[in-house]
């Protein structure tokens, strides 16, 4: 087991090094500031994180990170609060599914970017950005929850009914635990998508900065080593968030199987 982990880490490290070499070769071949070499990006990343330098918009990197994480977690929490019950009821009730499906299926493909004018008009700071993240996170949560409810083994439902379970008992004792793995999968995907929406979300004009905002302002003035550094930070933080959710997902799946 330990050996497997070591091999996995080793292969991961080698592929990462290989990726950096490819990136460096590509950057030196193209020779354009639009694709800075990894060394320049690393330098920018270090000056942002280690020295926490203030940028030309007057924000520290810690401001950008905390603002984005706050917005994403806020939007994600709202998406979970709305998405899980909606998904459970939609999957459980034929009537609710008939009513909700057309609305969900029409709104779901609309890109979060298209909601920006609406968000600016109807929500103030920070709810306009939170709303964009919410839009990104809520649909994967709903869809996965619905799929989880629909995938419940009918034998389990029939057995519970035979044993005299009421509708509410059936819901809390069978439906909820059985669909828990799908719910957590949906939440994990929702969190990832919500995090991916952060650049679009922070286009609405934010007071407290944010990683998406940072990328936009650096792009605006052509500081692409900082743009890439911001992109890498978004990637790393997103990876940590999703890995945490995956861990919770595994724990919950084990509980659901018991």
């Amino acid at each position: 087991m330990k050996k497997d982990i070591l091999i996995r880490v080793g292969i991961g490290a080698i592929s990462l090094i290989f990726f950096l070499i490819v990136w460096d070769r590509a950057a030196s071949s193209i020779r354009s500031p639009y694709l800075p070499p990894p060394y320049d990006v690393l330098k920018a990343l270090i000056s942002m994180l280690v020295f926490n330098q203030v940028d030309h918009t007057g924000h520290f990197m810690s401001d950008h990170i905390s603002a984005s994480v706050f917005r994403v977690l806020y939007g994600f929490a709202l998406a979970a609060l709305v998405g899980v019950p909606v998904g459970l009821f939609t999957g459980w009730s034929w009537y609710i599914e008939s009513a909700a499906s057309p609305i969900i299926e029409v709104i779901r493909p609309i890109p979060p970017l298209a909601w920006i004018p609406f968000a600016i008009k109807f929500f103030g700071d920070p709810f306009n950005t939170v709303f964009i993240v919410f839009i990104g996170a809520v649909f994967p949560t709903i869809i996965s929850t619905v799929a989880g409810v629909k995938a419940i083994d009918p034998i389990l439902v029939d057995a519970a009914k035979t044993l005299g379970a009421t509708r509410s008992k059936l819901f809390t004792k069978v439906v909820l635990p059985s669909s828990a793995p799908s719910i957590t999968t949906g939440l994990r995907i929702g969190l990832g998508v919500g995090w991916m929406c952060i650049v679009a979300a922070e286009m609405v004009g934010v007071k407290t900065g944010g990683l998406g905002y940072y990328i936009l302002v650096m792009m605006d003035i052509g500081r692409f080593e900082n743009v890439f550094a911001g992109m890498i930070l978004i990637g790393i933080i997103g990876f940590i968030m999703v890995a945490t959710m995956s861990y919770l997902e595994r724990r919950l799946s084990r509980w659901a199987r018991m």
């Binding site: 292969i11 592929s15 290989f18 990726f19 070499i21 490819v22 070769r25 590509a26 071949s29 193209i30 354009s32 500031p33 639009y34 940028d55 030309h56 918009t57 007057g58 004018p117 600016i120 008009k121 103030g124 700071d125 286009m203 609405v204 004009g205 934010v206 007071k207 905002y213 936009l216 302002v217 792009m219 605006d220 003035i221 052509g222 500081r223 692409f224």
Partner: protein
């Protein structure tokens, strides 16, 4: 782990390694590099969406303004919009220059400087488009600049001339900029919405967004940009250096049309009762999608100029110094791009030769 699963894993790893090796060779051979398109006799022109400062382009394209054939046609220049409806901002337009999608473009001085120095976009400034033409709009209850202390003010970006206008005014009025929350808002149409919602107490924008907010009753003009920084540089005509090297004659002809269009605008503006002014309004309304009242008011704040004179060079230099002072352009970028100092940058980046030739012939 079964032998089948293990060999599957190995196959995937080998495939991944092969793909990565292939990518290295592909990049080295230059297959994936963007190939500069073969220059066509049609000039691809960039401009910003609904930016009234760029009116000269639309006048130069208009056949009625040119007396039957457009100024561009008169000088034998075929033009096409590089992007339908224009670019969202000058930074994106400079990226399009870098991607060899624009030959000549109308955009602000700030992105023209910052993207050239920071990102090495190979361009030069060949003429002015306008000077001034922005303003500070404030919400109800703001009677003087100092009332903005503790409030939020929107600007297009922290690298725009509008942000520096705000800094200049704050300094003049003895207000520390840290006492104002400055927020970047783009597209500019969102500034009016944010003021209506009470999210911002002021904004600095270019026309017609200033007049639009004032005429719709959302805010009032506290200071025009000419009040804040007289004759400040604004939009410029930028040319791709590779395009200019290959099509020198086209750049000169384009500038001739630009000069004529600018003169025509100023002539029309000098007589608001003339048919030329009515036509100017028609062109501006069509281009910006704003009402005649808004356009009429906006035109009064903009000074259309093409000249690259000492006054422009001096204010352009002052603006470059500010961009360096505020770390938007790090000082070392000057030497990285082959400029000894700011004077050398200004004298080389602002290329008067084409305009002088256009005015001579």
């Amino acid at each position: 782990m079964s032998a089948v699963a293990s060999s599957k894993k190995q196959a995937i790893i080998i495939a991944l390694v092969l793909v990565l090796i292939a990518l290295v060779f592909v990049f080295q051979s230059g297959v994936l590099l963007p190939k500069p398109e073969v220059a066509k006799p049609v000039v691809r022109v960039g401009y910003l969406t609904s930016d009234l400062h760029h009116l000269a382009y639309f006048v130069a394209k208009n056949q009625t303004a040119g007396g039957g054939r457009s100024f561009f046609e008169e000088y034998g220049v075929n033009v096409t919009d590089a992007a339908a409806g224009g670019y969202a901002n000058g930074g994106v337009e400079m990226d399009a220059f870098a991607g060899v999608q624009v030959d000549i473009g109308y955009l602000g001085s700030a992105p023209a400087i910052s993207k050239h120095l920071n990102a090495g976009v190979n361009t030069s400034i060949v003429a002015q488009v306008n000077e001034v033409g922005s303003g500070l709009v404030v919400a109800e209850g703001i009677n003087r600049f100092s009332d903005l202390k503790g409030k939020t003010v929107a600007v297009p970006s922290h690298s725009s001339i509008q942000y520096f206008l705000l800094l200049t005014l704050a300094e003049r009025e003895g207000v520390e900029i840290k006492d104002i929350t400055v927020v970047d808002v783009a597209p500019l149409a969102n500034m009016k919405i944010k003021m209506e919602k009470g999210e911002v107490s002021g904004f600095v924008a270019w026309e017609p967004f200033v007049s639009d907010a004032v005429i719709s009753g959302v805010g009032r003009l506290l200071a025009s940009s000419n009040d804040i920084w007289p004759h400040h540089p604004c939009c410029v005509l930028v040319v791709s250096n590779s395009f200019a090297a290959d099509h020198r004659d086209l750049v000169v002809k384009f500038l001739k049309a630009h000069v004529e269009a600018t003169d025509w605008i100023n002539n029309a503006k000098s007589n608001p009762n003339s048919t030329e002014y009515t036509l100017l309004m028609d062109i501006a309304v069509g281009f910006t999608g704003r009402s005649r009242e808004v356009v009429d008011s906006a035109l009064k704040l903009i000074d259309y100029r093409f000249e690259v004179d000492e006054a422009f060079v001096s204010s352009f230099k002052a603006f470059t110094e500010k961009l360096i002072q505020y770390q938007i352009v790090p000082l070392e970028k000057l030497s990285e791009r082959g400029y000894g100092d700011i004077d050398s940058f200004v004298s080389k980046y602002v290329n008067k030769i084409f305009l002088e030739e256009a005015e001579r012939s």
